[in-house]
């Protein structure tokens, strides 16, 4: 998980949610929430702090956000090898 967070720093992000990984050559699209997460992840290494920032931005409980973050990172792993 830590590695995926670190790897997300290298991603090229566009306003449209189009994402390109310059190391693997993979590209994919994320929704608005995913884009918010990736933008935060490019500046924040600590997952707990990152989750706190998401809780402040979204109208959802901390438990829900943590679950969604976990799910998102798992999906992200597949693209960042």
């Amino acid at each position: 998980m830590k590695n995926t967070l670190l790897a997300s720093k290298r991603l090229a992000l566009s306003e449209s949610g189009f994402v390109f990984d310059p190391v693997s050559g993979q590209s994919f699209s994320v929704n608005e929430s995913g884009l918010v997460f990736l933008r935060l992840a490019q500046h924040e290494d600590d997952l707990d702090k990152l989750t706190t920032q998401l809780v402040e931005q979204f109208d959802a409980s901390s438990v829900e956000i943590k679950r969604d973050v976990q799910d998102f990172i798992n999906r992200l792993q597949g693209f960042l090898k």
């Binding site: 090229a12 390109f20 310059p22 693997s24």
Partner: protein, 354 residues
């Protein structure tokens, strides 16, 4: 001042092109005005007729005619065209040109290619040995002379699927002994023996094209991930990437071999993220035009090295630039086709194909 560069590999077939046309296109976009002379082996090599990138086209004798015939033809063409540099770019002709390089240099034709020893080092059947020296993993590879091997290989620690490869060209994934035997006979029939068996590793292929400066350095490099393949497994779309591990592998390869000339590293990143060396080609790949596309024109760089010019240190190339290959019909006048068929050269006057 304009220079004249001879380029081989004019077999720009849609599904599996030789690199010559892409090299010519790069040279036409270089800062030095360049006259490109295409050297092909068949009258239907399309790039011979592409007047946009290739100013004149000539036929060479088939490699089976021997090096004396090849040298005689190059001498004859040099008298007419005054080649400054010659860039061979087909695997099967590299050894011949490596042996002829000193003679060509004596005639004033510069090449910038590996010598015979360097070529042998990266030969497909010696890849694991070289990979070990560079410190990179590589799949198990064995030279096979008899098709029977594929029926008994599972008792020798091999498992299906595995790759069946020609020493110069061609590769086929085989899921069982029957498929492997069929691939062996097809490849052996076309390219001779040995045929190579190589362990199959699942993952994503990544490639690097570069130029070794002959003194242990990598003068320039462009990295690419294939995004779409033809039926033959050749890339028809790809995107530039920047992978530090891949770059380090190429730098190590150049340092160990003192590689001189163009190269392509084919590597595979497995599902756990490990990097494996699959193949090293001793020349530019067919996708070399991407190098001009990302602002690091590698054929231009190679010509500068061949001419002994000073190089500006290369800068990292941008990731995220795509190439998408397409097929195009060359329109050739009957007179031009007649000329290349009968005399082995395209017409001196402008043909219909511009």
């Amino acid at each position: 001042m304009s220079i004249t560069v001879a380029v081989t590999g004019m077999n720009a077939r849609a599904d599996n092109p030789g690199p010559g046309l892409a090299i010519a296109r790069c040279l036409k976009e270089s800062n030095t005005p360049t006259r490109v002379v295409g050297l092909g082996y068949e009258a239907l090599d399309p790039a011979l007729y592409h007047r946009g990138f290739v100013d004149r086209g000539y036929l060479l004798p088939y490699p089976s005619h021997g090096e004396d015939a090849l040298l005689a033809r190059v001498c004859e063409l040099h008298e007419r065209e005054k080649f400054d540099v010659l860039i061979p770019c087909l695997d099967a002709e590299m050894q011949s040109f490596a042996r002829l390089a000193p003679t060509l240099a004596g005639m004033g034709i510069r090449t910038f290619i590996p010598n015979s020893h360097q070529l042998a080092l990266r030969s497909k059947d010696r890849l694991p040995e070289l990979a070990k020296e560079i410190g990179i993993a590589s799949p198990k590879t064995q030279a096979i002379y008899q098709a029977n091997f594929f029926h008994s290989c599972q008792s020798q620690d091999w498992q299906y699927p595995l790759m069946v490869k020609g020493l110069f060209y061609d590769a086929k994934i085989a899921y069982n002994a029957e498929e492997a035997v069929a691939a062996f006979h097809r490849i052996a029939g076309e390219w001779g023996v040995p045929v190579l068996a190589q362990s199959w590793i699942g993952g994503e292929e990544i490639n690097l094209a570069g130029v070794g400066d002959g003194e242990g350095g990598l003068a320039g490099a462009v990295m690419m991930k294939k995004r779409a393949l033809t039926d033959k497994g050749k890339g028809w779309a790809g995107i530039s990437i920047h992978d530090e591990e891949l770059l380090a592998a190429a730098q190590k390869f150049c340092a160990v071999t003192k590689w001189r000339g163009g190269l392509e590293l084919e590597m595979l990143r497995d599902t756990q993220g490990g990097l494996h060396l699959i193949e090293i080609n001793p020349r530019f790949p067919a996708w070399i035009y991407l190098s001009a596309g990302v602002g690091c024109n590698l054929p231009e760089l190679l010509v500068k090295l061949a001419l002994g010019e000073k190089l500006i240190p290369s800068t990292p190339t941008p990731a995220g630039v795509l190439f998408i290959r397409y097929a195009e019909e060359a329109i050739v006048s009957l007179a031009d086709f007649e000329n290349i068929t009968v005399w082995g050269e395209t017409l001196r006057t402008e043909g219909a194909f511009a």
